[in-house]
């Protein structure tokens, strides 16, 4: 039985007096795509931010590769292979595409490999190659999302957290993004934890899913089972 690459045990966290997570427990195994779905404000983004150390966990434990990372500084996690593509893309607007990618590899010192990886990003996302000297803020939403993912890949992640990659994008672009996510998972072996409001997409892309409601996990199952679950269909799949 393989060890989970990521495990949350009864994690509580919040913002000051607002308690966002009230006892989240989940597991992600290496090589999987797992999704967390739920309504707006249910605590999905907060879960990712807590894992990454941006929001401090008040109770409970977060384990990455078997080690407790509650007290690890946020900026150390990418060096350990844990990287997040946060909600809203958040590429550096006044840095060029190339600089954004270069910064993904900030902690790395292997310059040759970094250059090769940048070229790989251009191969994976040709549009980024075309716009390599353009300022990030001038790219379209879809292009920014690709840049954000490519930048995250530059950190050589073992576990990639994605927060609402489909937000605000046209359906065609969304398809592209999701096929790239599948590609990263299959070809690079990157484990993916995907937070999505678009439950349909998420459950089709993932193998397992968690449902979050007001800070607690209410359901956990295989993705295809959740897709056919009548309660889920009613609440999140718009039936």
């Amino acid at each position: 039985m393989t060890e989970p690459i990521l495990e949350l045990r009864n994690v509580h966290s919040g913002y000051g007096s607002i308690k966002a997570l009230k006892g989240i427990s989940l597991k992600v195994y290496p090589g999987e795509i797992v999704t967390i779905i739920g309504a707006n404000g249910a605590g999905k983004s907060t879960t990712l931010m807590t894992i990454c150390g941006i929001v401090k966990a008040e109770k409970g434990e977060i384990l990455y590769q078997g080690n407790v990372i509650n007290k690890v500084l946020a900026e150390k996690l990418p060096t350990m292979g844990l990287c997040q593509v946060p909600e809203g893309r958040r590429i550096f607007p006044r840095l060029s595409v190339m600089e954004n990618l270069r910064l993904g590899a900030f902690y790395r010192n292997d310059t040759d490999q970094i250059m090769k990886d940048i070229q790989k990003s251009y191969d994976m996302f040709p549009i980024l190659g075309e716009r390599r000297n353009q300022e990030g803020g001038t790219l379209s939403g879809g292009e920014q999302q690709m840049l954000a993912i490519a930048r995250a890949l530059m950190t050589k992640p073992k576990l990639l957290l994605l927060d609402e990659p489909s937000l605000g994008l046209a359906p065609i672009i969304i398809q592209q993004i999701f096929s790239i996510i599948a590609q990263i998972n299959k070809e690079e072996g990157v484990t993916i934890l995907l937070v999505e409001q678009n439950a349909n997409l998420a459950l089709q892309a993932a193998s397992r899913g968690y449902v979050v409601e007001t800070g607690e996990i209410t359901l956990e199952d295989e993705a295809k089972t959740l897709l056919t679950n009548p309660k889920i269909r009613e609440a999140y799949l718009g039936e």
């Binding site: 900026e75 996690l77 946060p86 270069r102 910064l103």
Partner: protein
């Protein structure tokens, strides 16, 4: 005409000095969205430590034999000292208040400013401290126009520092990390950039530049005072705002403009009220175009 050119030279000299100080304000504002009220004191401390080192070297006799090398050493050591000072100040008065109210951080900065200038007064005395500048006297004469060696040194030194800063910020990995932190602090943590380190580095660089300016002022005007940080600090801040707060090129431009306005204002309008010109520009800019020359995106709710 000659008078005009002379004032132009003086204006560039003074403008360069203001630019160096303004850079500290603008860079720190870029990363933590806070005006470092005590930045002027780094300028003053630089002036003091500079003269302390120069006098020491003069006491050892090196100034007579190698004045310019002594000056160089003084610059390097002083900039290093002020960088350390700035890091200490940041850790004590700003870091703990990072997530508290803006007012608390502002008042802490104000308190630190008063504390530092008085620390200088207590350790170094209330009176002006003279610079051993006799060895740098002299210059070139072109009819009615004169450029002193000191002026030339200041202009060259300022240009060198500005170019070095540009290279650091726009061409190095560290500079990229600084720009990234200024644009999105949370995201930079997510790509393994330690924002606390970057912020300390920014403080250090800003203070180093201000320290260099302090030495230049000490040499140019002949002496330093414990309260010399106050008014130039406000003027440099005006320069930073004029150029667009958070924008490095803007700070350089703003400094030059403020320097020019002060010299020309003093020369052609009124010498007594020369300090007022910078304030008027500040108020004017904030009233008519708060984003400054370079038109920086200043988020209204954050100011």
């Amino acid at each position: 005409m000659d008078y005009f050119i002379q004032q132009l030279i003086n204006g560039i000299t003074l403008g360069g000095i203001y630019a160096l100080i303004a850079l500290g304000y603008t860079m720190v504002y870029g990363v933590i969205q806070l005006i470092n009220f005590s930045h002027g004191e780094f300028f003053a401390a630089g002036g003091y430590v500079g003269v302390i080192i120069l006098s020491y070297l003069a006491g050892l006799g090196f100034m007579e034999t190698h004045p310019w090398i002594c000056l160089g050493m003084s610059f390097i050591l002083t900039m290093g000292y002020c960088a350390f000072l700035a890091i200490g100040v940041e850790k004590v008065a700003y870091l703990p208040l990072r997530h508290k109210s803006r007012l608390a951080a502002l008042l802490s900065a104000l308190g630190m400013s008063i504390f530092l200038s008085n620390a200088l007064m207590l350790t170094q005395g209330v009176f002006d401290k003279p610079y051993p500048g006799e060895l740098f006297n002299g210059g070139w004469e072109f009819g009615m126009i004169s450029i002193s060696y000191l002026q030339a040194m200041i202009v060259v030194m300022t240009a060198v520092l500005l170019v070095a800063l540009n290279i650091l910020v726009f061409k190095t990995k560290m500079g990229m990390a600084m720009r990234a932190t200024a644009q999105d602090k949370t995201m930079s943590s997510l790509v393994a950039i330690g924002s606390n380190r970057i912020i300390s580095l920014t403080f250090a660089i800003g203070a180093g530049l201000a320290a260099a300016a302090g030495i230049m002022v000490g040499l140019y005007y002949g002496s330093v005072r414990y309260d010399m940080g106050f008014i130039p600090g406000i003027k440099a801040f005006s320069a930073a705002v004029l150029g667009g707060i958070g924008n490095i090129t803007g700070a350089m431009l703003g400094g030059l403009i403020i320097g020019m306005v002060e010299i020309f204002g003093a020369g052609y309008i009124s010498g007594q009220y020369k300090d007022v010109f910078a304030f008027i520009i500040l108020i004017g800019v904030l009233y008519f175009k708060p984003t400054g020359i370079m038109g920086v995106n200043v988020d209204d709710t954050r100011v």
